[in-house]
Structures are given as C-alpha cells and as structure tokens.
C-alpha cells in the first residue's frame, strides 16, 4: 500500500497515536535531538539532524524493571509484582538503520530455547514508521552492511520526503492499518518521485565496502594484542559507542532497595567498560581497553556473523564514529584487520 501524508498531518498522526500508544519520536530539546515520549504540543524534528541516540529504546529501554518486591508493613511475606511491558508502542521518525537494529536482537533474545519476554513483548507491540534518508553523512555506511538509505527492513511504514509531505509505504499489515487512516491521501505520481529520491540517495553513498573477509581477518588477529593496542590507543573506554548503537543488546541486572520495597532492573551495559567482564574474584578476562575494543569490533564483524549466517551486527548508522569523543572510526579498524600484512 502506498499513500501520502502532509507534514502537518504527520504531526496529527503522532498526536492521535499518542492517545493509545507510547509514541517515541525525535524531538529537539536544548540543542540536541533525541527520541522522546511524544505528546501533543511537541514538535516532531525529523530532519534537522539524525537523533543523537538510536531508537533502540523503543524495543529495549535503557532501564527495564524486571519485577518489584513489595513489603507491606502489615504482612510478613514480601509480594512479588510482575512488570512485563504493557501497551502498544510506535516509533516515528527513526531511520532505516534504527528500524533494522532490533533484527540483530532476534536470534539472541528470541531463540527456541531462550525467550526474553520483555524484549519480545515490546518487539511484538511496536510499530516503526521510518523515514528514508535522502543524503548520506560522512559517517554513514549502511550500504556496506547489507542495507541502504531507504531499506524498509524492520519498518512497518517507510516514509520518503516528497514536497510538503511524505510518500508512505506500508510494509506490514500493522502498517497498512495505519495507512487506512483519513490523514493519509492517495500518493498518485508522488510514488515515482519517491523512488527517484531514494535511488539518488543510494547513489550518493557510492561504492560499498566489502566486509565479507572481515570475520576471518579479524579472527586472525585475535591473539595479536599489539594490533589491538594500537587501534585502542585513543579509546577512553566510555560507553558512548555502545549506547548509541542500534544493535548493541548487552545488559546488566541489579537490585535496588527502595525503602521497604525493592526492584530488580535490567539496564544497558557496555562492553567497553572494565566492569563488563569483571568477575567476582576480581579477575577480569578483558582487563585492558584493547581487549575490550577487540571484543566490540570482533563481535560485530566476526563472532556474530559467524554464528548468524554472515549478518554483521552493525547497521552502518555511523553514530559510534560521529559520537565518539575521540573520533574512533570502526570502519578503519575493520579495514586495518582486513588489510593486515605481517
């Protein structure tokens, strides 16, 4: 299904959806743009810049309460309260790389044996209305990891900016249901225009880089700590790259005392941190930042694709490059491994 929606109506769509959905959309606050719980009265900010953090929180919030323990003052036995995510969610204005990120979670959190109910429930109940990109940034490389600026994978609706509105294409039945709303009009010729725009955007990205040799070449460097130390020299071990990343799915679980009650929460964790693999004994198998950077790059471009049919655990959004305080470029590291010669 293909429809058209004006810019004004897109805002109205967001407002209407907000009545019975948890809507996440890029909103400008201060001088940044982040995904926020959208409410009537807010302004969508789809174009000024790509949201600083990916839309990952739509399906994998930074803090997920796993359960609560309530200790009543009259009853002796503590009560356990289940907190599985309720309700339906919509992510409006993510980019194709945002929509695609959750696909890398699926083979980990939704296997035959292991089902992460919290993730799966959100995954099931979240609609992605995605905006195709019309121009690549210097840090974009989605086309090199099997995607592209108008890749509809993972989206329910893909929007392409045409004139004063968007051509909207439904990719799933849930998306079609939304396109049936009266805010949408027929797209007419605008569909062709959209195709042309999308093609142009793809063309601007140029030749993709070939990562097919990456899994093997990175693995070949596994014991070469000199290589990784050189790559990691400027890394400051912060978590900006992993927390920006649409595909990073690691978490930590902690308990909090809240007075007489307590909560168990799951929060984003990041493999660049010393504590990530710190063992109870005090031993740390990844004791230096070189070990940890090796793991991050290796995981995304070698170990994960080895396990999951060659799919890179990377959407090519480039946020980790752009937001790195010291400008580490993951593309350069992979390339260095690929081109490595003794």
């Amino acid at each position: 299904m293909e429809k058209f929606i004006t810019t004004t109506n897109l805002t109205r769509l967001a407002e209407e959806l907000a009545a019975n959905h948890r809507v996440l959309a890029p909103v400008a606050t201060g001088c940044t743009v982040t995904f926020r719980r959208f409410q009537p009265g807010m302004t969508l900010d789809l174009h000024s810049r790509m949201a600083a953090v990916s839309a990952k929180a739509g399906t994998f919030p930074q803090t997920e309460t796993l359960f609560l323990v309530k200790r009543d003052t009259t009853e002796k036995k503590p009560e356990l309260i289940e907190t599985l995510p309720q309700g339906k969610n919509v992510v409006i204005g993510g980019r194709p790389c945002d929509a695609r990120g959750k696909l890398m979670f699926d083979p980990v959190y939704g296997t035959e044996k292991i089902k992460d109910l919290y993730f799966l429930q959100r995954r099931e109940n979240t609609i992605f209305i995605t905006l195709a990109c019309d121009r690549p940034e210097t840090t974009c490389f989605c086309h090199s990891v099997g995607s592209g600026p108008a890749d509809p994978t993972g989206s329910d609706i893909l929007l392409t900016l045409v004139g004063d509105g968007y051509v909207a294409r439904a990719m799933t039945p849930a998306g079609e249901d939304i396109l049936k709303l009266s805010l949408f009009t027929e797209a007419g010729d605008k569909g062709k225009e959209a195709d042309a725009k999308n093609a142009k955007a793809r063309e601007m990205m140029g030749q993709p880089h070939d990562y097919s040799s990456a899994p093997a070449t990175i693995l070949a460097r596994f014991d070469d700590m000199d290589f990784w130390q050189a790559q990691a020299a400027k890394c400051i071990s912060c978590g900006a790259c992993t927390y920006m990343c649409p595909t990073c799915y690691c978490f930590n679980i902690t308990d909090d005392d809240l007075g007489l009650n307590s909560q168990r929460i799951r929060t984003w964790d990041n493999c660049m941190s010393h504590t990530f693999t710190l063992e109870g004994s005090g031993h740390n198998p990844r004791s230096t930042k070189a070990h940890r950077l090796k793991n991050r790059v290796g995981h995304k471009f070698s170990y994960y694709p080895d396990l999951h049919q060659g799919v890179m655990a990377c959407c090519g959004c480039g946020r980790c490059i752009k937001q790195c305080p010291v400008g580490i470029d993951i593309r350069q590291i992979v390339k260095a491994a690929q081109e490595y010669s003794e």
Binding site: T63, T65, L68, K70, R71, D72, T73, T74, K76, T83, D256, D257, L258, G259, L260, N261, Q263, I265, G282
Partner: protein, 660 residues
C-alpha cells in the same frame, strides 16, 4: 540475616511519650527482623539476659536496641551480645530517649520517629560485619610533661609504681608556680619547705629521667606505643660537668635582663641559677642578653668556671623516647592584667601582681622577704588587694572563676600584717569563694584576726595622688563609692591556660577548650582521661585549681597510667579504615589528609602503589574515606554503604518504578 529488636521503655522515660509495643510491632515488618519485643529496662541485668536468651533461642545474628544514647550504653550492650556469642559489632543502637522521648511532646510523632530510628539501625546492621580487635604490647615508660607540683606528683607516683618516667620541663628548674610562692594557704606553711623534698626526690629517683629547658617537639604513635621527640634547648653550659657552684653567676657582667623567676621585680645575670633550691641546680645562659652570645666577646663565666663547663657553641638537641602513656601537667599562666585600662595599664609602678607580691614576701625574693614597694622601696602601710583581675569577667573573655585567688589574697593579707604590723589591708572582692577544708575559716581569720578590710565591689580606677595611689571602687554593701589611698596595690590576677597549650594539644591530639584548658574525657566520671587513649591530665592544665587539687590529680593520673601499663597487651579498636586494594588506584590522597599518619603506601605484587592502613595508629575518624574518590578506603563500621543505607532508610530513593 536474623535480627532481633529490643525497644526499651526505660521505665517511663521512653514509654511516657513513645508507644513502645507499637514500635516493636512495626519493627517486625522490617527486612531481616525475625524477633522484636519491648522491654522495661534493656540495660538492667534481666534486660540484658533477655537479649542473650533471645539471641540463643531465636538464633539471631544481629541485635538492635532502641533505648538511650549509645554514648551511654553502647559498650554495655556490645558486651551483652558478646556474651551471647555474637561479635560485638553485630549490634546497633537507636537513640529513642535523648533524641525522641525527652524532646518531643507528641506521642504519635514520637512513636513514628522511634520506629524510623529503629529502621535506620536495622538497615545499618544489615550491612555490619564482625570486626576483631588486634592485640599489641605496650612500652613500660611514661612521659610527664610539666614539672610543676602536679607533674612532680604524677612522676613520683609512676616511678614508685615501678614505671620508668621521663619528665620534661620547659623552664630551667622544676617546681613550677609553687616554687615561687612564699607560703601556702590555709596552713601558712612554707611553700618551698613542702615542695623542696619532692623536687629532690625527682632528681634522685632511679626511675626518673629529667629533662629541663626542654619541650615536646612531636608526638607520634598511639596508646601504649607513643614516639616522643623532646627538644633540649641549648643552655650553653655542659650540665654533666656543672656543679652549680654559682661562681659564674656571681661574676657575670651582664645583669640587666628581667629576672623571670622573680616576676621581673629585679634583674638577673645572663648566666644564672634561678633560685637556691632549683632542681637541677645547674647554671644556664640567657642567650638574648649574654654579651658573648650577642656581641661575641666577654666569656667571663668560661674563665671563672672551675670545671670548664661553659660551651658557647652548644646547640639544641633532639632526644627521642618511646613511651606507653603521657601525663600532661603543663599548668597555667597568669592573666595579663594590662588589658584593664582602669588599673593604669602599667603606668603606676606600685600596682603589682599577686605573684610579684609573693616574691616580695619570700625570704628568697629580691627584697629578702621585706615588703618594699617598687617605686621608692618604702614599706607600704595601706595595701589594697583587688580580686578577680581576669576572672569572672566576660569583657576580657575570662568568664570563669580562677578558684584560688580568694584564698591566696586572704593569705597575703595575713602575711602583710605579719610583715608590717602597723599595716592595713583592704580587699576589693566580688564574692568570697572558699569551699575547701579549713578554707572559709581561713578567710575569716584574715578579716577578724588580721583586720583585713573586705570591700565588696569592683574597682573602677586607680590614680596617683602625691605619693599614694587612690583606689576608687564601689562598696556595693554600703551602696557608696569608696576611695582608698594605697601605698601598694596588689592585683589578684586569675589563671589562664599556659602559653603553648594549644600547640601542645595539637601534637597530643588533646582538644583545648575555648580558653585553652585541655578537655577531659568526662567532666565528672573521667576527670583525668582525655579523648586520646593513653594521654592523661593532671593539674591546672585542665582548668584552674589549687595545690591540693593539683597534687590529687597528679596522683589520679599516675594511677590511670599504672593501671594501663599493668596490662601486658592492649586491644586496638577495629573500627578503623581498611583499604580494598582491588579498588585503590594508589593516588595517595588518603595519605595526604590523614591527621595521624596512619596510612602508608605499599606496592602490591605487581608493583602497583596501594594504600595500607596501620591499624593501631588509625583513630577511626573517616577523613580518608571521604577523600578517596574510588571509595577504596572505607572506615569499618561507618562505611559508605552503611551510612547510605541509613540515608536511604530515611529518604527512600524514587526510581522509575514507583510503588504507589
């Protein structure tokens, strides 16, 4: 963890305004609390037995008692839980008496507050862990600082008790203020006749090492193991040779500097022995006035000395001794009366201090015991004594009573009559304070037998008229102004803390009060102890007191020292800081801030710098814990997590997940 909670009624002290059974019931809902009850007197023997019984029966591994202040009974209950087989640190107290029942009026608010204080204690206890004291040996030697009568008594008692004693005195001779006195009240017996033999005992006692002209330079270590450095100031006389013959004193051509022993009433030679009974009886050179030392020529003393003990090259010398305990007996100084403009600020020569008067009365004084007034050497007929000069006066920041001035003034009035039978004494006083054995009788005698005229009132001015001084004051009993023509005015100057007391206190970690007197551990029950273990107080350094009280305190301090050093080993408080080497990054900030030098840097087996606490030196203040950004050094029993647990118990954090 299995916690038991005991809510004490303290008779009606707590139960009067706190619903104790209700607090006990509420406590039962707290995490890990498996037993909770209220009890009439937790600290009584049956109360303690009940706790012990509950620990055993309910298999408790932690106890909370909500009762009075932990400053009162924490030790009591710690011992009780220890008897029950728990570690003494698996115990917490909630203060629901001093901080709740005695200050709050409203019962439901009090009850709620008590319950919350119990909850805080429970949350802290949940994070406590057993701590174990370390044992260590003590050095069997004691340092006594100050050789006045209190220090002399403490030193002799300790030495007689079998301990080695190091006695340090700042002046050239021991004896202190008492050595300057002519007679003592209320017996009017000769001061030096009483004190002299004790001074000789000091010199001759095999257990006592005496350092005069010496001061304590630094003190390190802790109870049982102090390291003390003593600065022996240069006397320019080799005391191992000096026989005290006095030839040098006789021949010294420089005799212009004020004689401090005689309170500046006369001058003294630059090489001197302060008084005939001085211990040690050795000569010393005053470097500031000695011609040789100031101008580089003279050396008469060196020439006349039969044993050639003069050494102009002598330097200060540092001596280090290890001691197990310290007695501080640094005494007092006299108030500087020049702050009072109404007494002429020094313009009138015949206004003198009571201590100067003592020297005039003394047979060994500058006038050979004849009262001669300083201006013209005439014998005074009318002598006016003014009391409370620098005592009980907020305007000069001396609101306290010096205690002994009433008595010595009465004594001096009596002695005045003895010396000059046709004299008349007048005493301006505020109140007569004579609460001692035979004291009030003594002041009565001064008035009734010796005819001293007591005028109750303050003196507003002294002015000269012809060769007299007119003393004008109020007679508050007669309600008039009076003017007394005086030949001599004696100011009963009060006591103030000895100069340097504050600095010495810093070295010893003994806090001075706002007037510089050292603070005892408890004003009634621990009068000679200080808050620093192993350091005791004797005499007027703790507050003004007279000779009998000073001697009594000297003996008291000695008995404390003997008790302490009679133990073979002491236990250290385990509530000290501890470094988690896994978190320590070796930055050394804790070392920098520790006031006790209790943290040292070591290297771990990989060569990384790490901090390490010396258990016995650490006093448990926790400055380091706040200094350490990584939280690597934690004060046991007051860890971050323990205090945060208390904070969180009072104000639970609000997270995303809210409980409505």
């Amino acid at each position: 963890m299995r916690i038991g909670v005991f809510i004490c009624h303290c008779g009606s002290n707590i139960a009067g305004t706190v619903d104790c059974p209700s607090v006990a019931a509420t406590a039962l809902t707290y995490p890990d609390v498996v037993f909770s009850t209220d009890t009439m007197y937790a600290c009584s023997e049956p109360g303690q037995d009940a706790i012990i019984q509950a620990v055993k029966e309910k298999n408790l591994d932690g106890v909370v008692v909500a009762s009075c202040t932990p400053r009162m009974h924490e030790q009591t209950f710690r011992r009780a839980v220890e008897r029950a087989g728990l570690n003494r640190y698996m115990f917490e107290m909630a203060n629901i008496r001093e901080h709740v029942s005695w200050i709050g009026k409203t019962k439901d608010l009090n009850t709620n507050k008590a319950a919350e204080l119990v909850r805080m204690a429970v949350e802290k206890l949940r994070r406590n862990r057993p701590l174990f004291a370390k044992r260590f040996e003590t050095v069997k030697r004691v340092l006594v600082i100050g050789g006045g009568v209190a220090g002399i008594q403490a030193a002799l008692d300790c030495a007689d008790g079998g301990q080695e004693v190091v006695l340090v005195e700042r002046e050239q001779s021991i004896g202190g203020k008492m050595a300057k006195l002519d007679k003592t009240f209320p017996t009017v017996d000769c001061s030096s006749c009483v004190l002299g033999p004790k001074m000789v005992d000091i010199a001759q006692h095999p257990n006592i090492t005496l350092y005069t002209c010496s001061e304590v330079e630094s003190v390190g270590g802790y109870v049982g193991n102090f390291q003390v450095t003593i600065r022996k100031k240069a006397t320019y006389v080799d005391w191992s040779k000096c026989t005290g013959c006095g030839l040098c004193v006789e021949k010294c051509p420089s005799r212009k500097h004020p004689d401090t022993f005689n309170e500046g009433l006369c001058t003294a030679p630059s090489i001197n022995i302060p008084f005939p009974q001085a211990i040690p009886k050795k000569a010393a050179i005053n470097a500031a006035s000695c011609i040789m030392l100031t101008k580089g020529k003279c050396g008469v003393c060196a020439k006349v000395c039969p044993v050639k003990c003069i050494d102009f090259e002598q330097k200060d010398e540092l001596v280090t001794v290890d001691v197990g305990a310290v007695v501080v007996a640094t005494g007092y100084d006299l108030f500087d009366w020049h702050k009072y403009p109404q007494y002429g600020e020094g313009r009138y020569k015949d206004v003198i201090t009571s201590m100067q008067y003592e020297r005039l009365l003394s047979a060994s004084g500058p006038t050979g015991g004849h009262i001669k007034r300083p201006s013209d050497g005439k014998e005074p007929k009318n002598v006016v004594f003014i009391q409370c000069v620098g005592s009980r006066d907020r305007s000069v920041n001396r609101p306290y009573c010096s205690g002994f001035c009433c008595m010595y003034t009465a004594k001096q009035a009596i002695l005045t009559k003895d010396h000059v039978p046709d004299s008349q004494s007048f005493v301006f006083y505020m109140d007569i304070r004579s609460p001692g054995k035979m004291y009030d009788e003594f002041t009565r005698r001064a008035m009734e037998e010796y005819g001293a005229q007591y005028v109750r009132g303050r003196v507003s001015m002294i002015y000269p008229q012809d060769d007299k001084l007119i003393v004008r004051g109020a007679d508050t009993l007669a309600g008039t102004q009076v003017e007394v023509p005086a030949d001599l005015v004696v100011l009963a100057v009060g006591a103030e803390s000895a100069r340097g007391a504050v600095q010495l206190g810093e070295k010893l970690r003994v806090a001075p009060d706002q007037y510089g007197f050292f603070v005892e551990s408890h004003p009634k029950l621990k009068p000679v102890e200080t808050n620093t273990a192993g350091v005791f107080l004797a005499g007027a350094c703790q507050g003004p007191k007279d000779i009998p009280a000073s001697v009594g305190q000297g003996s008291a301090a000695a008995s404390k020292v003997l008790g302490l050093l009679s133990k073979k080993e002491l236990e250290s408080d385990p509530a000290v800081s501890r470094v988690n080497p896994g978190r320590c990054v070796g930055c050394g900030k804790c070392v920098q801030t520790c006031p006790f030098g209790a943290i040292k840097m070591i290297e771990d087996r990989f060569g990384n710098p790490k901090a390490e606490v010396i258990d016995t030196v650490c006093q448990g203040c926790g400055i380091c814990t706040v200094t350490c950004p990584q939280g690597a050094i934690q004060l046991e029993h007051f860890t971050d997590n323990q205090i945060l647990a208390e904070v969180n118990a009072l104000c639970p954090p609000k997270m995303f997940a809210n409980f409505e």
